[in-house]
């Protein structure tokens, strides 16, 4: 549910949570992203960094340089002035191989959803996504926009470590992984792109709020692109949205 007015909550004396609602919802996320963008456009001395999440923005600040009252007043002024929605200006086309051996859990997910693996892949690659937030581990990017036909609950117990660049679904969302981690989500496929490459500039290329689509590729293409990616080349394609 979206709140009538944002709530300012304290996470200790050095972090303020500006909360717009209590659910995962595109409109609520857009408000958190709009405030994040407004703060980056009008930075205030004493703000250390901001962390956008599904339904709130965490503002880490130095309370010896910026009082809570001044921070809240700044946020409230931006909220009065800022548009509630910041439209994505960039779309990333992320290649994804849903075929064996990469679509490790696509059959299991299909079974839970009463769909064939090829139907799961077609539905997943046929949708427009938006980066809601990062979390869990470096470069793990949570995406809104999963079709309701793919809204499978998370597994009852976690699976073993994901392959690098896993593309996953669970709990009504999609997720792109980076380094291997155990997870309760289903691995539908893999991307040869690296969501996090510390030596690359930029180390992370998808900004929270960007739009994404998945482009199905076969195993031979995956291997060719993976080699390029290992050499530091960007695999994802950037489109400017009008």
């Amino acid at each position: 549910m979206r709140y009538a007015a944002p709530r300012c909550l304290d996470a200790g004396e050095a972090a303020l949570v500006v909360e717009f609602g209590d659910s995962v919802d595109p409109a609520i996320n857009a408000e958190a992203l709009a405030l994040d963008a407004a703060l980056r456009a009008a930075p205030l001395a004493g703000i250390v960094e901001t962390v956008p999440t599904y339904r709130s923005l965490m503002i880490h600040y130095d309370p010896l340089a910026l009082t809570r009252a001044a921070l809240v007043a700044h946020v409230e002024a931006l909220e009065r002035a800022a548009p509630a929605r910041a439209a994505a200006s960039v779309r990333w086309i992320i290649p994804c191989c849903y075929a064996p051996p990469h679509g490790e859990d696509i059959a299991a997910a299909g079974e839970a959803l009463s769909l064939s693996p090829s139907q799961v892949a077609a539905l997943h690659s046929g949708s427009d996504y938006r980066a809601y937030m990062y979390g869990f581990a470096p470069g793990w990017c949570y995406l809104g926009g999963l079709p309701s036909a793919l809204a499978v609950p998370r597994r009852a117990s976690p699976r073993g470590p994901t392959p690098r660049g896993a593309v996953l679904i669970g709990g009504g969302l999609s997720l792109i992984g980076a380094d291997p981690m155990p997870t309760g989500w289903y691995v539908l496929g893999r991307t040869p792109e690296r969501m996090f490459a510390p030596e690359r500039d930029p180390s992370f290329f998808v900004e929270v709020g960007d739009a994404l689509r998945f482009e199905p590729i076969d195993e031979a293409t995956f291997r060719a692109l993976e080699q390029k990616s290992a050499c530091g080349e960007m695999i994802a394609r950037r489109e400017t949205m009008t």
């Binding site: 004396e13 050095a14 999440t53 010896l64 510390p198 992370f204």
Partner: protein, 343 residues
């Protein structure tokens, strides 16, 4: 000339830490950094290193070091560890010169869980995302993104002159204290019953055995949720006290994930998180709720104490005056001629 610190032995959980990795929380990157930022600052001040410079964080597992290439100036601060130089006991907070061939042994002592070995110079390793802070779970920072172990050598650069005598380090803000750990209630205190809040503030808590740089597990009571234990994941600050479904709180520490999905009943204040981190598994303590204003005042007092500097007192040496080293005097730069102010 080049110099190295050679790791002769290291227990689990000994890592290189700088002030922490900032600016990438929004990409899911854990900040890491020192568990006890006060002790870390004291060690860097006493070593004449830059504030926030990378130091070695020593766990209860202990550490043995030798120097190679040159005599290396070191400063140690943190819990009451047992420190020996070629077998001779040193104060648990001190500055010393480690000559090639000398053997420095740091072991868990009377109290405290972490101590810091700061270097009069800098650790010459490549930063990841702008920081040397080690985060082992994402294999990032420090030496190959992992804990230190026997046989490792840490390359050093920009060495400053080591102290000419052994110096005992005194810093007002390192004094151990049995006072309650102060916390600000929220951001999800409304997810708990009033009885659970009372219990949180009145219980005698212990740090659990399964505690590490990511989180300290608390034992002593179970806190009841008023409206479920699942929230939509949101940001997590240092010292967040998160309560999962089993009701046993976790205090999220330096290696926390930047976001999380359990309700947070309260947040340990910045001025007390280092003191809390020094609690060993099994040690008892209690919490006290304070206002934001009180938390900020405590933070300011601690910051002013750090700005005022540390005292270095020569141990049985020829110099008898006390020395004062402060951040302001050093100006954040390691200097071969440490501007020691005599009282």
């Amino acid at each position: 000339m080049s110099a190295w610190l050679i790791i002769r032995a290291a227990g689990p959980g000994v890592t290189v830490q700088d002030a922490g990795r900032r600016g990438s929380l929004r990409f899911g990157v854990t900040p890491a950094g020192p568990m006890d930022a006060r002790a870390f600052a004291a060690a860097n001040l006493a070593a004449g290193a830059a504030m926030g410079a990378a130091a070695i964080e020593v766990s209860l597992g202990g550490l043995e070091l030798t120097a190679e290439g040159e005599t290396i100036g070191l400063a140690i601060a943190g819990g009451e560890f047992d420190i020996r130089l070629d077998g001779a006991p040193l104060p648990f907070a001190c500055a010393l010169a480690l000559e090639p061939g000398a053997h420095l042994v740091i072991r868990a002592g009377r109290g405290g869980a972490w101590c810091y070995v700061a270097i009069a110079g800098r650790i010459d390793l490549p930063p990841t995302l702008g920081s040397l802070a080690t985060h082992t779970r994402s294999s990032m920072g420090g030496l190959e993104g992992r804990g230190l172990r026997a046989g490792d050598s840490l390359p050093l650069a920009d060495l400053a002159a080591p102290p000419r005598a052994l110096l005992a380090l005194e810093a007002s803000w390192l004094a151990a204290s049995e006072e309650p750990i102060r916390a600000v209630l929220g951001p999800q205190a409304d997810y708990f019953t009033p009885e659970a809040i009372d219990e949180f503030l009145s219980a005698r808590w212990r740090v659990g055995q399964r505690s590490d740089r990511m989180a300290y597990r608390l034992e002593g009571a179970r806190l009841a949720h008023a409206k479920g234990h699942d929230i939509v994941s949101d940001g997590v600050a240092l010292g967040a006290i998160q309560v999962p479904g089993d009701g046993a709180p976790l205090v999220l520490m330096a290696d926390r994930q930047p976001t999380g999905g359990y309700p947070k009943i309260a947040n340990v204040i910045g001025a007390d998180i280092g003191r809390f981190a020094q609690r060993r598994p099994g040690e008892a303590f209690s919490f006290a709720a304070v206002s934001i204003e009180e938390a900020v005042a405590a933070r300011r007092a601690q910051s002013e104490a750090v700005d005022a500097g540390v005292r270095l007192r020569p141990m049985g040496g020829e110099i008898s005056t006390e020395l004062l080293l402060s951040a302001n005097l050093i100006g954040g730069v390691a200097d071969a001629n440490l501007p020691l102010e005599k009282e």
